[in-house]
């Protein structure tokens, strides 16, 4: 298959773009595989890619119930950052960040990763100290972080209201310069193409309807396209984790599925050149290459699989947006959508062997899944291949909740909607 490059674009332009081939095949499922990955989203696809690339395991199928990338990889607000408080999270997300920095090359697919920085605004001295604690925690793990003054912030984002008369005046901020954003769909497509080129079968419109078992051990899956056996079955189904685990007979998990809404405005000429978060509520914003302002806020706050949001959150998010940018009142919200987030009891993910023999579990991404995509797949592939976690994901066990080893970056306890 041809490499993508400026040259290939030029060549194909002369032949009327008639020679481009499908980005990935559309194979029928085989009777059995070494590994089945359930979930054709970012994490499932990257898991398959790294199984093949890092561990030489290529007899792999990725099963996707709908169209590839139909879940959260195509519904998020595309932020990539590693500005966490607790070391387990920071180490993992920084590993991911380093992978992002070379991802387009690795995949021969431009995922448009752009390191325009992520700035958390602080509005009280106490909050500024909190951010300093976090920034210093990052620095002590070799991750970039800087404090910014109001004047520096105003220079970076001139549209921001930094006046002292604001209801919550801005006192400063914590900046991670290497943070950024990427083109979300391209990540799914790039991994799909990369995995496919290494022999992985990506099977769309193939919904898992049950698990094949030998005693406790999982030996495969039944699907809408027939039974498929596998030595190892790995789940990377994010918001659908509860549903799929139920098929395996596990009704209760330390997870709730919640809707998170996202919004985009009409295209505008460049006005915000970084990712920005508001400290006195829950709001984040960046601007896409097409010019749309992409933003979001809090979860709707109740269990849902509907990918459909409620009105109060829309109002809340827009109110917070204008508290920062009173000049944008006449800009218009063009689209809204919802994604289903698998919220855990401490806001941190789960990447582990089990909980049943033959099963591997990757879930609990809350709303941090997109930035984790490379490291999640990389660590999960390691865990599947070696039957033990890598150091990076060793803390992200399922039993950590019960043992009092939670990784609670927000300190909110077992209330998933608050993480």
């Amino acid at each position: 298959m041809a490499e993508y490059s400026a040259l290939s674009l030029l060549k194909n332009a002369f032949t009327g773009n008639k020679d481009w081939k499908p980005a990935w095949r559309k194979p029928d499922p085989k009777a059995s595989y070494d590994v089945i990955v359930i979930g054709g989203g970012g994490h499932g696809l990257s898991t398959a890619y790294y199984l093949a690339k890092e561990h030489g395991i290529t007899n792999v199928a990725v099963l996707e119930k709908g169209w590839l990338g139909s879940g959260n990889v195509g519904r998020n607000t595309t932020a990539v950052r590693s500005n966490y408080l607790l070391p387990s999270n920071t180490r993992f997300y920084e590993h991911s960040m380093k992978m992002w920095e070379n991802l387009s090359h690795d995949l021969n697919y431009n995922v448009m990763f752009s390191q325009r920085g992520c700035l958390n605004l602080a509005h009280t001295p106490a909050q500024f100290d909190d951010y300093a604690r976090r920034g210093n925690a990052m620095r002590h793990l070799g991750v970039d972080a800087e404090l910014m003054t109001v004047a520096e912030i105003k220079r970076l984002v001139p549209a921001l209201d930094v006046s002292g008369s604001a209801r919550f005046p801005i006192l400063g901020g914590l900046m991670q310069p290497r943070a950024g954003s990427a083109r979300h769909d391209a990540v799914a497509w790039g991994y799909a193409r990369g995995a496919d080129r290494r022999g992985v079968d990506i099977i769309e419109n193939c919904e898992v309807t049950g698990f094949l078992r030998n005693g406790d051990r999982i030996t495969g899956v039944s699907t809408t396209r027939g039974e498929i056996r596998a030595k190892k079955v790995a789940l990377a189904v994010a918001g659908s984790t509860g549903r799929v685990m139920q098929l395996a007979g596990i009704d209760k998990m330390p997870i709730e599925s919640h809707v998170l809404q996202a919004f985009v405005t009409e295209s505008l000429k460049p006005i915000i050149d970084t990712i920005l978060t508001f400290g006195m509520g829950h709001f984040y914003i960046s601007q896409s290459d097409k010019g749309g302002l992409v933003y979001g806020g809090d979860l709707d706050g109740y269990n849902s699989y509907a990918q459909r949001g409620s009105l109060p959150i829309v109002d809340e998010v827009m109110s917070e947006m204008l508290a920062l940018f009173p000049g944008l009142a006449r800009v218009r919200m063009l689209r809204s959508w919802g994604g289903v987030c698998d919220m855990t009891m401490d806001g941190s993910p789960i990447i582990t062997t089990g909980p049943l023999p033959g099963m591997y579990l990757n879930c609990g991404w809350c709303y941090g899944g997109f930035k984790a995509t490379p490291a999640s797949g990389w660590c999960f592939a390691w865990t599947i291949a070696k039957d033990e976690p890598h150091d990076f994901n060793a803390p992200f066990t399922l039993d950590r909740f019960y043992r009092g080893l939670v990784i609670d970056d927000k300190g909110q306890g077992a209330t998933p909607r608050l993480h």
Binding site: R243, Q246, E256, N303, Y305, R308, L311, M345, F401
Partner: protein, 97 residues
């Protein structure tokens, strides 16, 4: 989304706070069964379909409600006081016409 509070009548979801899975059983206070406590604190039913939930009408009468709501459609099939002893009939919303 509207939730019908048995006291206040149908109200916008903005007035309510979600308190999660209503199937959780708190062990007896003296229970030493750590598994039972762990299950109560950390494990949740998370069905795709009807879900038995606790909501507080925090922006209204502040009563806790037990609500059966479909997580796929958001349709609510029943709602009542979480505590059994408020007689719903006595507290039907008054509407003269």
């Amino acid at each position: 989304m509207l939730i019908t509070c048995p006291y206040c009548g149908p109200r916008d979801v903005i007035e309510f706070t979600y308190q999660g899975d209503g199937n959780r059983q708190r062990p007896q206070p003296s229970s030493q069964d750590l598994d039972a406590w762990n299950a109560y604190v950390y494990d949740r039913l998370n069905p795709a379909g009807d879900h038995n939930e606790i909501w507080q009408h925090s922006g209204g009468c502040r009563a806790h409600l037990r609500v059966v709501r479909n997580t796929l459609t958001h349709e609510i099939s029943s709602s009542g006081f979480a505590r059994g002893d408020h007689k719903a009939a006595r507290h039907r919303l008054e509407t003269k016409s």
